[in-house]
Symmetry: C2
Subunit: 365 residues, 2 copies
C-alpha cells in the first residue's frame, strides 16, 4: 500500500443538481469479515443521471457528499480476518442494497424491504464505488471467474432482470405448469437488452420494442441473440401485438409510465408483466380501465413491480454471463458503447451520456 492516507473519488452534493466533482476519501483498511477492493470499472446508469440531476439520492449520515457508482467490477487487494470464500486477486462485484431492520430484511430479503429504510451504495445513504478502493463485508461480494472480466461490470444491471425472471417464476408456481414461450421486452437500454439475452438463453421467443428504428446498435444485439427488434415509432404496441401470439412474459424497462399500462393490454392469459422502471414525476394519462381490468380478471394475469436484486440474483447472473459468452461470444460486451477515463473524465459524467447503450468508467490500475 502507498503511504497516502487519502484517495480520489467522484461525488455529488445530493439535492443540488450538477455538482459532480472529484473528492478525497480516507483510504480504508479491511476489518474482520471485510475485503479491500481495488475498483477496475464502474457502469453509469439512469439512476446516476437522476442523482446528478438532484432528483434522487442522499449522502451517508454526517456527510454532505455522496460518492457515485453502484455498478462495479473490482479486484480484491487485501482481506481482513474471517473472509472465507474471497481471496486476494479475486475478480468481484459488490451488491448495492444494505438491509434495515424490517421483517423482509431480517429474513434475508433486503430487495423486498418493507420499511424502505435500507441504504444503497452510491444511491441512498452510503458511498458508492466511483473511488480508487473500497472496503466491503465479503457477504456483499460476488466472485467472478477471470474469463468474465470484460462483461462483469454488467452483472449489477443483469441482476435487475434476474430478479424479474425469478419473481415471475416464483409467482407462477401457482400454475400446474409454467414454461413461458413468448416474451415482450419494452425498452432497449441495458436492462431491456440484458433481459433479452437472459430470456433468449432460456429458449424463449423475445420481441424487444423501443423508439428508435433499426438498424441501430441495440437492435443488432437483439438480433445477435436471435430476438426480434421492433420500433414503436414505426408500429404502435397494440398493432405489433395483434400480429403475434400472446405474451407469457413482459418486462417493462423504458421508464415511460404509460407504456407499463399499455403493456397490460398485450399480456396473455396467465401471463406476468414485470415493471422495472423507476418513473418520477406526476404524469396522469388516459387508461382503458374497463378493458384492462376485464382482461386481467378473465385471464388470471399478474402485474408485479420489481426493484433491486437479491444476492442469489448476483450468483445466478454470474452463471448467466458465462452462458451468454458460450451462446453468443463477444455479444454481451457490445452493450458497452462508451468508455470514460477514470478520474480524468469527470466532466463527461457530469455532462450526461445520452447516446449509445452503456457507458463505463475505466479506473487505471
Amino acid at each position: 500500500m502507498s503511504a497516502s492516507t487519502t484517495m480520489p473519488a467522484i461525488a455529488v452534493y445530493p439535492g443540488r443538481a450538477d455538482t459532480v466533482h472529484l473528492t478525497e476519501l480516507p483510504r480504508p483498511t479491511p476489518g474482520p469479515g471485510e475485503a479491500l477492493v481495488r475498483v477496475r470499472r464502474v457502469g453509469v446508469c439512469g439512476t446516476d443521471q437522476e442523482i446528478i440531476a438532484a432528483l434522487f439520492g442522499s449522502p451517508p449520515t454526517g456527510s454532505d457528499e455522496l460518492v457515485l457508482g453502484h455498478e462495479v467490477l473490482g479486484v480484491v487487494e487485501a482481506t481482513g480476518p474471517r473472509t472465507d470464500g474471497v481471496r486476494e486477486g479475486d475478480l468481484v462485484v459488490a451488491t448495492v442494497r444494505r438491509p434495515d431492520g424490517c421483517p423482509a430484511c431480517l429474513a434475508g430479503q433486503p430487495d423486498m424491504c418493507v420499511w424502505q429504510g435500507f441504504t444503497e451504495r452510491g444511491i441512498v445513504g452510503a458511498h458508492g464505488y466511483m473511488v480508487e478502493r473500497f472496503v466491503e463485508d465479503v457477504r456483499h461480494l460476488v466472485v467472478l471467474p477471470p474469463a468474465l472480466e470484460s462483461v462483469g461490470v454488467l452483472l449489477e444491471p443483469l441482476t435487475v432482470v434476474e430478479k424479474a425472471l425469478r419473481q415471475a417464476d416464483l409467482i407462477q408456481r401457482r400454475l400446474a405448469s409454467w414454461a413461458p414461450k413468448t416474451a415482450l421486452i419494452l425498452g432497449a437500454g441495458p436492462i431491456g437488452l440484458l433481459g433479452a439475452l437472459l430470456l433468449r438463453s432460456r429458449g424463449i421467443d423475445v420481441v424487444v420494442v423501443a423508439r428508435r428504428p433499426a438498424p441501430n446498435p441495440a437492435a443488432a444485439i437483439v438480433e445477435g441473440c436471435g430476438g426480434r427488434y421492433a420500433s414503436l415509432r414505426e408500429t404502435p404496441l397494440a398493432e405489433l401485438a395483434a400480429d403475434l401470439p400472446p405474451f407469457d412474459l413482459v418486462f417493462e424497462a423504458t421508464g415511460v409510465a404509460q407504456l407499463a399500462f399499455e403493456a397490460m393490454g398485450v399480456l396473455g392469459s396467465n401471463g406476468v408483466l414485470v415493471l422495472l422502471s423507476n418513473t418520477g414525476g406526476d404524469e396522469v394519462a388516459p387508461v382503458p380501465v374497463a378493458r384492462l381490468n376485464l382482461g386481467f380478471v378473465q385471464g388470471n394475469k399478474v402485474l408485479v413491480g420489481s426493484v433491486n436484486a437479491a444476492h442469489e440474483d448476483f450468483t445466478a447472473g454470474v452463471a448467466d454471463l458465462g452462458r451468454f459468452e458460450e451462446l453468443w461470444p463477444g455479444l454481451t460486451a457490445r452493450l458497452i458503447t462508451h468508455r470514460l477515463n477514470g478520474f480524468a473524465d469527470v466532466a463527461r459524467i457530469a455532462g450526461g451520456i445520452d447516446e449509445g447503450i452503456k457507458a463505463v468508467i475505466e479506473f487505471a490500475q
Copy 2:
C-alpha cells in the same frame, strides 16, 4: 320418480335482452359416475343480470335457450354406478366451469383456462341450475354437512374469494414470510362481504368500502364480524387510506373499473391486489401512471386478476362456511336478503333485484 318426462326450468334466449321465461327440459337420468340432484335453492347474481340484459351468456350447442343459475344448493336424489363419495340424501353444491383441452384445463386447473373454450353451467354453453333437477358428474359436486343448509347456497360466491386468497397466498410464497395483517375490500356486495368474513376468520384487520353510508345491512355484517365499514361517498379512498396502515391485501369487487386502479395507489409494500370484477364497456379514465408504476416497482407490489374457482376452493369454502357459523352464528345467512318463490316468481327475476345483498330462489321440494 313421477311419471312426467319433462320438468320446469327458468331460461333466457341469450343475445336477446329480457327474455326470462319458464321452459321445460327432459327429465334426466344419472349415468355412470353421475348423480341426479334435486334443486333446493339457487342464488341470483350480477352475472345472471348481465345474461338477462343480453350482455353475456350463450346457449348449449343445438339450443337457442340457456337455463339460468350457477349458484346452487341441492340434494342428491339418485346416483348412477361408480359414484363413490356422494350418496342419496347428500346436500351438495355443483361447481360451474367445465374444462376445454388447454394445458391448464388438462392439468386440472380449468379456472386458469388459457384457451377460454370452457363451458360454464348457467353462463356459457351449458344449462344452469334454475331447474327442478339436474344430472352432474359427481366429480363436479361438493358435499356439505346438513348444518350448512341455510348458507350452502353462498358457497359458489364464497369460492370467488377463496380463490382470490389462495392465489395471493400462492404468489406470496415468493416472500420469506407472508402473514397479511391488514386488508381492504372494495365493494359490499356478496363477494365483498364473503371476502370480509373469510379474511376476518383468518384474523386479518379488514376495512370494507362501498358507496352507501352506514347504517345499512352490509355495514352491519361487516361490523358483525369485527371489520370496519366506510362509505366512499363520505370519504374518498385515498383520504381513507392515508389514516390507516398500508394494506397487505386488497380485493376489488365493486365492478367499477376505475377503482381497481385507485386501489393500486393504496396497496402496501409487498402487497397483493386481487381484481375480481368483470367490467364490461369501454371506459377510459385518467390514471396517475407515473406514481402507480413507481409505487409498484419500489414496493415489489402485485396486481392479479382472478376468475372462477377451482374444486379445492369449494372444499375450502365448505370448511370456512362452518368456521363462519362457529365464529359468528347466523351472520352469514344475513347476506340473503330476498327469497323468491321457485318457478312462480319468474317475473321478479326478470325485473331485476336491485336492493339488498343476495336474492335466492327457493324451489319447493
